[in-house]
């Protein structure tokens, strides 16, 4: 069932807010089927860069191609229906039950006939029990809600997933299990995934390529292994230093015990 996810190509992409360059002349290629983490501090432009791909934010310069096609060629709502989008605040619709929340993309595409079966599949996929289908969002925990968020994004079988700090608001245990489950899903479905996070440890664990952003520019572009070996530049090193120090501290504590 897995069609490999599309390639992404960005050519001199910029986004300016008045005098402020949120994204400054980024040129970048992302391979089909890769899981790329965009890492950086708050205000580094990583979310803006992500949201330009599904036109939640329109670029002020440059071109973006998804699967070889310029994103400006289709209407924003048509483009977005082919791209999964998951974000920190989840945004489940409180007046719809879980089944309808998951199937809403199919409804928009006029395929709601296949809804029930697809909802059951998706609940399995994100490891939620079937009886959740008839509940409403407020009856679910934060982790369960974000699983629904992922299921909703996957409902229309998009090849590309954009995730904006998807697990940022969850407790560490829930977050850890979701991160590893998503990694498995990504591989199983052959998706192309771009995930924005400010957590280097999560990026190192999850991604097969890490882009470090600062002041609207990509300052480092490396695999997790390269990041850890210190060959990715100063900005990357500053971010890697944090989990490295924590790990060292933990192993020190362990050694003492």
């Amino acid at each position: 069932m897995s069609v490999p996810g599309p390639r992404i190509k960005m050519q001199n992409v910029s986004r300016q807010y008045g005098a402020l360059k949120a994204v400054d002349d980024v040129t970048l290629e992302i391979e089909s089927g890769s899981l790329v983490a965009l890492v950086g501090l708050s205000g580094s432009g990583k979310s803006t860069l992500l949201k330009m791909i599904n036109r939640l934010v329109d670029p002020t310069g440059g071109d973006i191609l998804v699967g070889g096609e310029n994103i400006l060629n289709s209407d924003p709502h048509i483009l977005r229906r082919r791209i999964g989008y998951v974000f920190q605040n989840i945004g489940l619709f409180p007046h719809m039950n879980i089944a309808r929340n998951i199937a809403i993309g199919l409804e928009l595409a006029g395929e709601s006939g296949a809804g029930d079966k697809r909802v059951a599949e998706l609940l399995d996929l994100v490891e939620l029990p079937q009886e959740m289908a008839l509940r409403v969002p407020e009856q679910l925990s934060g982790g369960q809600q974000q699983r629904v968020g992922v299921a909703r994004a996957l409902a229309t079988r998009p090849g590309l997933m954009l995730m904006d700090e998807p697990f940022g608001a969850l407790d560490p245990v829930t977050r850890d299990s979701l991160v590893s489950q998503y990694k498995a899903l990504h591989e199983k479905l052959g998706l192309t995934t771009i995930i924005v996070t400010h957590d280097m440890a999560e990026a190192l664990y999850l991604a097969d390529r890490i882009l470090v952003m600062e002041e609207g520019q990509i300052k480092a572009d490396a695999t997790p292994a390269e990041m850890l070996s210190g060959g990715a530049g100063d900005e990357a090193e500053a971010l890697v230093a944090v989990p490295r120090a924590q790990a060292a501290h933990l192993s020190q504590l362990g050694g003492k015990a």
Binding site: R81, Y85, N89, G91, I104, R152, A153
Partner: protein
């Protein structure tokens, strides 16, 4: 239930239906306007500021004034656009109430739409909803409880304010309240108040039920309440589906004599096979314009009123000549028909307490002018603004200590109790004689004559059975008979309704002829 209550409530169903039709139409029109406006305002904060400021401004205008303002506006429009716009009745009432309903609906809709969780909106965008889909599937349902609360407020306001539409000639439960206030028939006032309050409470409860059902997402309950509302509404709309082509509308200003004469005419027309509708409590200026525009078919007006207010004449002329000139003018100017005078005069009569008249030797307006600086002057609501007052003042130099306006009902008690010392009474009012008040003579003839006369709308002016049915009333009513009929309605004890007084007067007229 006593006879008075039974009679009062007998009028409720028709007026309630008219009240519901009016309130519902105004609410529907307001919703129609608010739908695009609130969406626009929710997307553009600057637009919201302007629209809400306008709606708030409208809200500060008293409902009564708003209704009154639409009359001249529509009159102007109908002059510009020709036929087809009626300045009286349903249209001005509808427009004023609609404007009045805008604020609560708009304010709540904008609050509701802008208050939708930004995460839900971002998700809607991310999923690829169009703006319309986002509105329909996400924003509107989430804002619905707030929007519904606004509609509920607007509904209650509209139902309450609709009672005021009586003053522009639109039938509503206000007819009972205004007529009852005028004739001191408190049963009638209570019937009108109770009916409109009950309507407001029931509608509020049902809309509240819908609002709550939306908030807790119980669709079935919302449908039940909607169904009850729909049933009530269709019951109210049913009568208006019947043909109303040959209904005669009789207009009356807001005092007992007018109510009685309207019923007298109505009775005669019913005998001739016509169906009758009454528009009571209209303003003086409104009633003349309305009959000339054909919004009402027939009314009783007074020669002096037309002479000074409509024809803008100031010179006093002998009564027969005045009537001739008015008939000619009405016909030439509007194509209306001044059928003839009823035979009695209802002029402004300055009345004082008998003891004052005796102690100070008051007999004429000249005498009054001498004492005016120590007297308080009580008038009806419009006298001080009327040209007749200027005429009196220029003939008899008066300056009162104080000038106060009353609803005519309360003007007579004010004189008896000494709150005021002289009133601009109506000469055909039975309460002058009943209280023993002394009428001061207008020796200089400053006040023009106020012969009661019948005005017929242009479209009925030559309708034979219609005119024939009313013609016997010309010259038939003496001032004594009119005073007695008026007093039957206006007295404090053993009060009669205008219908009863009209029946008494009718019998008197027929017997008079036989004798």
């Amino acid at each position: 239930m006593s006879e008075a209550w039974r009679q009062a409530f007998a009028r409720v169903p028709d007026l309630l239906a008219a009240h519901i039709q009016l309130s519902f139409s105004a609410l529907l029109l307001a919703l129609f306007l608010c739908f695009p406006l609130s969406i626009w305002a929710a997307r553009k904060p600057k637009v919201a500021t302007v629209i809400l400021a306008f709606a708030s401004l409208v809200q500060t205008i008293p409902a009564l004034a708003l209704l009154a303002l639409f009359y001249p506006i529509l009159l102007g429009l109908s002059v510009l656009l020709g036929e087809g716009i009626s300045a009286l009745g349903f249209l001005p009432a509808l427009l004023a109430l609609t404007l009045y309903a805008l604020l609560p609906i708009l304010r709540n809709a904008v609050t509701g739409l802008t208050g939708v969780d930004p995460a839900a909106k971002e998700a809607a965008d991310g999923l690829g909803m169009t703006a319309a889909q986002k509105l329909r599937l996400v924003e509107a349902p989430l804002a619905a409880p707030t929007i519904m609360a606004g509609i509920r407020t607007a509904a209650v306001w509209t139902i309450g304010a609709a009672t005021l539409s009586t003053t522009v000639g639109q039938a509503s439960l206000g007819d009972l309240i205004f007529a009852g206030l005028q004739t001191q028939n408190w049963t009638l006032v209570m019937a009108g108040c109770l009916a409109s309050a009950a309507l407001a409470i029931i509608v509020d409860l049902l809309l509240g039920m819908i609002e709550h059902a939306i908030a807790v997402r119980k669709k079935s309950r919302a449908w039940v309440a909607t169904a009850i509302l729909a049933i009530g509404l269709s019951a109210a709309l049913l009568p208006s589906l019947q043909s109303r082509d040959d209904v005669i509308v009789i207009g009356a200003k807001g005092f007992s004599e007018q109510f009685i004469l309207a019923r007298l005419i109505g009775g005669r027309l019913e005998e001739a096979g016509y169906e009758i509708e009454y528009r009571d409590g209209l303003g003086s200026a409104v009633v003349f314009q309305a009959v000339m525009a054909g919004d009402i078919d027939i009314s009783i007006d007074y020669s002096g009123t037309i002479w000074t207010n409509q024809m803008k004449r100031t010179a006093a002329v002998p009564t027969p000549q005045m009537l001739d000139e008015i008939a000619g003018w009405v016909s030439a100017e509007y194509g209306g028909n001044m059928l003839g005078a009823l035979g009695f005069e209802n002029t402004y009569a300055f009345a004082v307490r008998p003891e004052d008249a005796a102690d100070r030797g008051l007999a004429t307006l000249d005498d009054l002018a001498r004492y005016s600086s120590t007297f308080s002057f009580g008038t009806d609501l419009e006298f001080l603004e009327r040209p007749e007052w200027d005429m009196v003042k220029s003939a008899y130099p008066m300056r009162f200590k104080e000038e106060r306006s009353f609803n005519p009902t309360f003007m007579y008690p004010a004189l008896s109790s000494g709150e005021v010392d002289v009133i601009s009474a109506f000469s055909s009012d039975g309460r002058i004689a009943a209280n023993g008040f002394v009428v001061l003579e207008d020796t200089k003839g400053a006040v023009p004559s106020y012969e009661a006369m019948i005005l017929i709308a242009p479209n009925r002016r030559n309708e034979k059975p219609f005119v024939e049915a009313i013609k016997p009333l010309i010259g038939a009513i003496t001032v004594e008979n009119m005073r007695e009929a008026n007093y039957r309605v206006d007295r404090d004890a053993d009060k009669q309704t205008p219908e009863q007084a009209a029946k008494w007067l009718d019998r008197r007229l027929r017997n008079g002829k036989v004798e």
